[in-house]
């Protein structure tokens, strides 16, 4: 595998490469290597491991690497890639190698009574909302149901932990509720009902400072609510008294801000900064709202209705799922080139849910109506890293917890948990 071997064969079937990595643990000496054009990433993996093994002091435990050429993960052989990308084979090709994200392990399946429509996790606790109007808290360590509460009168569409003991639920019954888990951890008590949406609330998102949250609804508006316990916010209940008990009267809260603008139902939202919210709608547009100014700061148009979006604070890009098979990656700050920076095409149904990894700026997961959740590397748009099958019906929601759990809930009334090792 050294240069001497390379000269034995015709020159044109060999390529000059240079290997480098960003992690000092796996660094090898920076000299060019001549490899056959047919070398695939598995061969490169062998090479790097051999090099590392030679230089290692102790016994080297082989590590799987992924190889990147110009930021793209190498899926084919080096020669094919060079041919596709029309890179000059005269130059020394710089190949970066990274430790491969290990395959997620299926952990457990949490069975619900009805379709799981929303999931959010905080520490070891997984919060799920379901179509049976109930919200459930699960312990991810042992898979035990911690508590279950019939929080709403209509299916729950969004859930979110605010603190370790309180969470928000958004529902089809047009309300968002803030719940407190009691000391015992078995009972849930309402702290506030956020009323104001005129139609089903489809998603909510907590602001980075955890003092506010926003909710989007079928009534085409985005509303921003305060989580602060201000008594002044409580006013008399609106007209329909049907859905609330007497003791809830003083729990009602009204929106801090209502931002109309979308022409169709708003289906997803995410805070992208302290005062910036991004929303996706069925009117085929993503809008970036400035909360302080109370208006749209930017609009990104598409040709499909959006079902979900996820913002990564690590790489500051947005991925979206929409009513087609394509996952789209947007850069809200970029004004140049095409609006859609990358498209990830592998699903065979609607992409119902997408989620960035909270601690890796390249990885994200997507759940689709084709019953498969996929893990992607943003650098490899051609093919996903891993497919996670298991659901027997549509996946409606997915989440990547900060404990590196991949959660997906679906129309088969199950929440599937996969554990991904931290890269």
């Amino acid at each position: 595998m050294d240069e001497g071997e390379g000269t034995m064969e015709p020159q044109d079937s060999y390529l000059q490469i240079r290997l480098h990595t960003k992690s000092p643990r796996f660094a090898v000496t920076d000299i060019p290597y001549s490899i056959p054009t047919t070398t695939a990433s598995s061969d490169l993996n062998l090479l790097v491991n051999q090099l590392l093994g030679e230089s290692a002091v102790e016994n080297w435990i082989p590590v799987d690497f992924d190889f990147l050429i110009n930021g793209d993960i190498l899926l084919t052989s080096v020669g094919e890639y060079v041919q596709q990308q029309q890179i000059s084979s005269e130059n020394v090709i710089s190949i970066e190698y990274i430790e491969r994200a290990p395959a997620p392990e299926p952990d457990r399946s949490l069975e619900h009574r009805d379709w799981v429509s929303a999931v959010h996790s905080f520490d070891d606790y997984i919060l799920t909302g379901a179509y049976d109007n109930s919200v459930r808290v699960w312990n991810s360590r042992d898979g035990q149901l911690v508590l279950s509460h019939a929080a709403h009168t209509a299916p729950i569409k969004g859930v979110c932990w605010t603190t370790s003991s309180s969470f928000l639920t958004a529902s089809h019954d047009q309300t968002v509720a803030l719940w407190n888990i009691d000391e015992g951890g078995k009972n849930v008590s309402p702290r506030a009902f956020f009323r104001g949406h005129a139609n089903s609330v489809d998603a909510l998102s907590l602001s980075p400072d955890r003092k506010k949250f926003c909710s989007v609804s079928w009534d085409k508006t985005l509303k921003i609510w305060s989580l602060e316990d201000d008594a002044t916010e409580e006013i008399a209940a609106p007209a329909d008294k049907k859905f609330k008990g007497e003791n809830r009267k003083n729990l009602t809260k009204t929106p801090e801000m209502t931002l109309p603008g979308h022409k169709e139902a708003v289906s997803c939202c995410a805070w992208t900064g302290k005062t910036e919210i991004i929303t996706g709608s069925w009117d085929h547009s993503i809008r970036i709202w400035d909360v302080e100014l109370g208006g749209v700061s930017r609009q990104l148009d598409s040709s499909k209705a959006f079902t979900s979006l996820s913002y990564s604070s690590l790489n500051r890009t947005v991925i979206s799922g929409s009513s087609d098979r394509l996952i789209r990656l947007y850069d809200p700050r970029s004004h140049e080139g095409s609006v859609v920076k990358l498209g990830f095409l592998s699903h065979s149904g609607w992409v119902s849910s997408v989620a960035w990894s909270p601690n890796n700026d390249h990885l994200f997961i997507s759940g689709s109506y084709d019953k498969v959740m996929k893990m992607w590397d943003a650098r490899s748009p051609k093919a996903p890293l891993y497919d996670m099958a298991g659901h027997s019906d549509k996946i409606l929601c997915c989440s990547w917890s900060d404990r590196n759990l991949l959660l997906s809930g679906g129309a088969d009334s199950a929440l599937k948990v996969f554990s991904a090792a931290r890269v």
């Binding site: 139609n199 289906s267 129309a411």
Partner: protein, 806 residues
């Protein structure tokens, strides 16, 4: 002038006199001379005796003759006068020029006298006079000769006597060989021989004069005479022993009597006297015909031909095939044919290889021979093997002669005779240029969500205006509400009968679902979506109906508290099965079709007043009803200026074979009648703008009508292979869809332009298949509806599913 005129005059003077004897002599002499000439016998010098004084003598003599001739002949006075004048002039000239006469004569002698025949040809008038004068003589003895008689002698003599220029008589002229003269003229003067040219002059003359060969010498006068062509002809005839006249000697004998049976028998009986008299009957007939022709009663045939003429024409059909065709005026097609003609293929010219003794390089080596034998006949470069023979006589007969001839004939026979002008039309070009479906996006292409839950055929679907919920009605006696985005069934309403129709109330601020099942129409409040709207709906309905109301045809019932819990609000009971229902776009009126087939009755209900009405008692089989309001055009306002309503409200009634459009203000008259030209109209849809209507029929057709243009379909689409069940327009996108029992939903781009001059653009863009065929019922896709805001289409199938295509 002075030199030529006397000769002319003298010629004229000499003409009127003819003597057979003289003629014969002249000809005989000329013939003798000619014969000697032809045998190339040089003319003897001795015979060159001239008579120099001949002309003046003739001239004087001729004057008297001329007068005689003028008086004797029947020529007109004018001409005779003219000739007299001429004579006087001539006399003067002669008197004046008496001194020059000799010279003139000499010149004349030098110049050969112009040919006799030519002379005659130049004077036809004199000729005729001559013919008349000698009429008897000529016609009696030698008619043909007389006509062609040479008048030359008349130039010399006008009398009946013999040649008077030389009076020596018929003596051998050799006697005068030794004398300077040749004889004596009539006055006794010697006729001096003309000067004879020496041999050099003769030779030069022979070389120079083209007429030398036909110049003869008059023995009597010794002058040179140039024979004319006619003279030559006569001489030739004489030599051949023929008659010298122009006529045929032996005319073909026409036998009066023949062996053939004749149409009219000839008899020897003398014709009767009467046969010489003109027939009165014929005269009468002819006069009648003449009268008729005059009056224009009959028209003479323009090209009236006798049978003999026709026969002649037939004979003329023969033509010389080898004459060049350029002479014939060609028609355009004939010229094109010629231009496109391909000449017959030519045989290749023989080469060295064909020689009996070809050069060595043309002979095949053993290898080549083997290869040649191994090759197929078609592949061989040479179709024979070159062979060498020592001599041509050793060459054997060509054994493939017959085959070669046959192949050559085949070549000639099979070769194309004409270059055919073909128009190469690419079939692709004949297809109208339609935009590619790719350019007409968005339109639904793939199945996205399946709504599962019904346990029997789904008959009808309806999408709420908000686009969040979908209602469906099925044969399993239930109506269901689905969440569009997830396929979740939110509500299920159990009905007592199979549901034939579900429809959301089009009014935006009402959450009301109409469900037609059995003989009733149920109005439900599904309590999904906006709660305020739901509660408002309940309030409104409570106001409308406080107790049951019964009409002549229907009865409106308020739901009991128990039913109310299930979602029911109002029930409209009919006397017969309700086949269909249609909402008015305002959401107050709705129409139902009660009963099926020919018994179908159209009933229009008003929900707010709880009334039912039958607008038309006898209408025939009503299959579908559709309401539509559209903004009035100028034309509509002209028709009814009193009406201040900005909308024109129409109702479309689909009968079995036609669609009638009524103005809701004037229900008694049909404002328009559409003829889709089908056997059974199954469904119809109106474009949101109101100018275009789609009509689907069970005989597989979907017809697009432009209401502004015609009662006939603007375009008929036959894309389905079985009956069409439903057609629908998209409210926002230029899309329409049709579904059929063949299991397909066909989505088409149907762009209607605001420009009235531009026709709608209709392009089928996608065929959506997926619904399974229901074997029991033979049904497949029963309903198709578009999402109100997205370019999505829902289809309800007999396979118990509702599907969403995006």
């Amino acid at each position: 002038m002075a030199t030529s005129r006397p000769s002319k005059a003298s010629k004229r003077r000499r003409q009127p006199s003819s003597d057979q004897q003289r003629k014969a002599d002249i000809v005989d002499d000329a013939a003798d001379n000619l014969v000697s000439l032809f045998v190339d016998h040089p003319a003897s010098d001795e015979e060159n005796n001239g008579d120099q004084e001949e002309s003046p003598i003739d001239g004087e003599d001729g004057g008297g003759h001329e007068d005689e001739n003028a008086t004797g002949s029947d020529a007109s006075d004018e001409s005779s006068e003219y000739s007299d004048d001429d004579d006087e002039d001539e006399d003067e000239v002669e008197e004046e020029g008496s001194d020059n006469e000799d010279e003139d004569e000499e010149e004349k002698a030098d110049e050969p006298v112009v040919g006799i025949g030519e002379e005659m040809a130049s004077k036809p008038a004199n000729d005729s006079a001559l013919a008349k004068e000698n009429g008897e003589l000529a016609s009696s003895s030698m008619p043909s000769y007389a006509v062609a008689a040479d008048p030359k002698e008349y130039d010399f003599d006008s009398s009946d006597e013999e040649d008077v220029r030389n009076t020596v008589g018929n003596v051998p002229m050799e006697w005068y060989n030794d004398y300077p003269h040749i004889g004596y003229d009539w006055q006794g003067e010697k006729i001096i021989k003309p000067a004879t040219a020496n041999e050099i002059d003769k030779f030069l003359k022979r070389m120079d004069d083209p007429n030398f060969w036909k110049t003869v010498k008059d023995k009597l006068t010794g002058q040179d005479v140039v024979l004319s062509d006619q003279d030559l002809e006569i001489i030739q005839k004489l030599q051949l022993g023929k008659l010298t006249g122009s006529g045929e000697a032996y005319e073909p004998f026409e036998d009066i009597f023949s062996h053939e049976v004749m149409d009219t028998p000839l008899s020897s009986r003398a014709p009767s006297k009467r046969s010489f008299l003109p027939s009165l009957l014929e005269k009468d007939k002819v006069s009648k015909l003449v009268y008729a022709i005059k009056m224009g009663l009959i028209k003479p045939a323009r090209d009236w031909k006798t049978p003999t003429d026709e026969a002649e024409e037939k004979e003329e059909q023969f033509y010389a095939i080898w004459t060049p065709e350029e002479s014939i005026e060609d028609s355009k097609s004939a010229r094109a044919r010629k231009r496109n003609a391909i000449s017959a293929p030519k045989i290749a010219l023989p080469g060295h290889a064909e020689s009996y003794n070809p050069p060595a390089e043309y002979l095949m080596t053993e290898k080549e021979k083997q290869r040649w034998r191994a090759e197929d006949r078609e592949d061989r470069r040479l179709d024979f093997m070159p062979r060498q023979y020592k001599s041509l006589r050793l060459l054997p007969a060509w054994n493939r002669f017959i085959k070669d001839r046959f192949e050559r004939c085949l070549d000639l026979y099979l070769c194309p005779r004409q270059r055919k002008m073909k128009v190469n039309v690419d079939p692709e070009d004949l297809i109208p240029k339609l935009p590619k479906p790719k350019d007409l996006q968005p339109f639904p292409t793939t199945e996205a969500v399946r709504y599962l839950g019904h346990s029997d055929i789904v008959r009808s679907i309806s999408v709420h205006q908000d686009g969040q919920f979908l209602a469906s009605g099925s044969d399993d006696c239930s109506a269901r509400i689905w969440e569009v985005s997830t396929g979740r069934c939110y509500k299920t309403f159990v009905m007592p009968d199979p549901v034939v129709y579900v429809g959301w109330c089009p009014k935006r601020d009402l959450m009301l679902l109409a469900v037609a099942a059995g003989s009733s129409v149920y109005f439900l409040n599904p309590e999904v979506g906006n709660k305020l709207v739901s509660s408002n709906t309940d309030h409104l309905l409570d106001k409308v109906i406080s107790s049951d109301v019964t009409n002549a045809i229907t009865s409106f019932h308020k739901a009991s508290p128990e039913e109310r819990k299930q979602g029911f609000r109002i029930t409209v009971r009919h006397s017969k099965k309700v086949a269909n229902l249609t909402w008015h776009p305002k959401g107050d009126f709705f129409a139902t079709i009660m009963g099926e087939g020919p018994a179908g009755m159209l009933i229009v209900h008003q929900l707010s007043k709880l009334t039912s009405d039958v607008p038309w008692k006898k209408l025939g089989t009503v299959t579908k009803v559709l309401f539509h309001d559209y903004v009035k055009t100028e034309k509509d306002e002209e028709e009814d200026p009193a009406d201040k309503d900005p909308y024109k409200r129409v109702i479309l009634v689909a009968l079995q074979r036609e669609v009638r459009i009524y103005n809701l203000k004037k229900l008694d008259t049909v404002s328009k009648k559409l003829e889709p030209n089908c056997n059974y109209v199954s469904c119809m849809a109106i474009h949101p703008k109101g100018d275009n209507v789609l009509v689907g029929s069970y005989d597989r057709r979907v017809s697009w009508f432009d209401l502004d243009s015609s009662n006939k379909p603007y375009q008929t689409m036959r894309h389905h292979s079985r009956g069409v069940r439903q057609v629908t327009f998209h409210k926002k996108y230029p899309l329409f869809a049709s579904c059929s029992d063949d299991g397909s939903v066909i989505v088409s781009h149907g762009m209607v332009y605001n420009d009235l001059n531009q026709f709608p653009l209709i392009v089928p863009v996608k065929e959506l298949k997926g619904h399974a065929h229901n074997v029991e019922s033979g049904l497949n896709v029963l309903d198709v509806q578009f999402h109100p805001t997205q370019p999505w289409v829902f289809s309800a199938g007999a396979d118990r599913t509702v599907r969403l295509y995006v």
